[in-house]
């Protein structure tokens, strides 16, 4: 193993290989961050919808989750990248105004956002359903509207309960950004492969990528653990009274 390779210049670009990997890492983190925001918002809404008393809302939420959970991620990438613009003329027109990188970034965020939102919806639903029924009834009894009951009673507890599974969803999302390589987004895995192919130093390239992914996973894990401790309510599960 020879670390000099990371300082070597990229033949047709500017900068050394380590800078290439660093720029890939930036794309990975950017996609993960944007997709997480989208997935968290959407997943919360769908998860809540699945616990309401409106039967059609529950049905629609269930169907949504099943749809995104039962199709492989790479096929979903192809659907968003090739099929949606092909079927919807308005999207096609809009896509042609983007430059390819923007199109790839947009596709990756939307695809991973929807994919992850279905998983978050499932966690939010089970978090809310794990609460004692009395909590909802008590909220209604003191005169809260349903949306107030969710906002002030159910969700604050449910979110705290599901922080551990949300942590693994966040880590899954970061790992799943690698699949954006399939549509040519120059994220970390794309750059790693490129480095391997152009220098034939696969071992060094893959070892570096492995190290980076492990560090991100650890960092995400620690960050969520910190949030969990900060938000803990004394007397409840994670909270030390």
């Amino acid at each position: 193993m020879n670390l000099d390779i990371f300082l070597q210049q990229v033949p047709d670009g500017d900068g050394a290989w380590w800078q290439m990997l660093a720029s890939g890492l930036q794309w990975t983190l950017l996609v993960a961050l944007l997709a997480w925001i989208m997935a968290f918002t959407l997943g919360s809404l769908i998860g809540v919808a699945r616990t309401t008393e409106h039967r059609w809302l529950v049905r629609a939420g269930d169907a949504y989750v099943e749809l995104f959970r039962n199709i492989p991620l790479i096929v979903q990438f192809f659907l968003w990248y090739f099929v949606v613009p092909g079927l919807v003329p308005a999207v096609k027109v809009w896509v042609t105004t983007l430059d390819p990188t923007e199109h790839q970034l947009f596709t990756a965020v939307v695809c991973l956002g929807f994919f992850t939102s279905a998983r978050i919806a499932e966690q939010v639903r089970s978090g809310i359903q794990s609460l004692a029924r009395g909590q909802r009834n008590a909220a209604y009894a003191i005169g809260l509207t349903p949306s107030q009951a969710y906002r002030y009673v159910l969700l604050p507890m449910a979110y705290r309960i599901i922080i551990p599974p949300l942590t693994s969803e966040l880590m899954n999302l970061i790992k799943n950004t690698a699949v954006a390589y399939s549509i040519g987004l120059t994220e970390l895995f794309f750059r790693t492969r490129e480095m391997g192919e152009m220098t034939f130093r696969y071992f060094e390239a893959f070892a570096a990528a492995t190290l980076i992914y492990v560090v991100i996973a650890l960092a995400a894990n620690r960050a969520m653990a910190l949030i969990e401790r900060r938000l803990a309510v004394p007397g409840f599960i994670a909270g030390k009274s």
Binding site: I74, F78, L79, G86, F189
Partner: protein, 228 residues
């Protein structure tokens, strides 16, 4: 859009089905191999021999924190080199992506199955193993006769759910140009410029299969739950 031509699906169906066959085969082999190897890993993680437990935990955590795609490419490029050093051959043996994928998925899935089996083993009351030892059974007998059968039974729905995820994850080998179900559809789509029809078809087939399989698992889960 009116110019969609789904006949392309019919015409290339035999080719696509061969791809699907490879996908199913890889899934089954990886699931069986993964459960066996994963159970051994779980026993190692729970072992009282510290170095063994640490090594197993390190392996599992490493596998679980890097993207599957990276693992697939690691094995694809490194396995020939590794085999060369192991066998002392003059040049790296040509295994090909189709075959290296079997080993990749067994070893990768083992990390996930390990965590499931570990939870399963820990869910069995300690008194059961203790009773086994009190009867004079050895570690091996306690595990194979008492603990593992129950752990496996309790975890069966989760193991099957993980296998459905595996079935979907196998599609990533198409990025190594392997002709699995997705790989076959990509090739047909590019050859005939029928991208939309092909990918819609693939999505529908996956959806129907995975939806039916998870519904079956749910039913099995309920049945097991009643017995307990």
């Amino acid at each position: 859009m009116s110019d969609l031509d789904f006949e392309i699906v019919g015409r290339s169906l035999p080719y696509l089905m061969r791809g699907l066959q490879y996908t199913v085969q890889l899934t089954l082999v990886a699931a069986c191999g993964g459960v066996i190897f994963g159970t051994l890993l779980a026993l190692a993680r729970l072992s009282t021999i510290k170095p063994l437990a640490l090594a197993a935990a390190g392996y599992v955590n490493l596998m679980r924190s890097i993207p599957l795609l990276l693992v697939i490419f690691w094995f694809y490029f490194m396995m020939p080199v590794l085999l060369q050093t192991l066998t002392g051959a003059e040049r790296p043996p040509q295994i090909g992506a189709e075959r290296s994928a079997y080993i990749t998925f067994i070893l990768f899935e083992a990390a996930y199955f390990c965590e499931i089996m570990r939870a399963g083993i820990q869910s069995i009351a300690k008194g059961q193993a203790a009773a086994g030892y009190a009867l004079g059974l050895e570690y091996r007998q306690v595990m194979t006769l008492i603990v593992l059968p129950q752990a496996f039974r309790n975890m069966l729905p989760i193991l099957l759910t993980q296998s459905i995820i595996l079935f979907q994850d196998v599609s990533l080998v198409s990025l190594l140009n392997v002709t699995d179900f997705v790989g076959a559809s990509v090739k047909v789509a590019q050859r005939d410029s029928r991208v939309i029809e092909m990918y819609l078809f693939v999505a529908v087939v996956y959806f129907v299969l995975c939806f039916a399989l998870s519904a079956a698992v749910k039913q099995l889960q309920q049945r097991i739950a009643i017995v307990r």
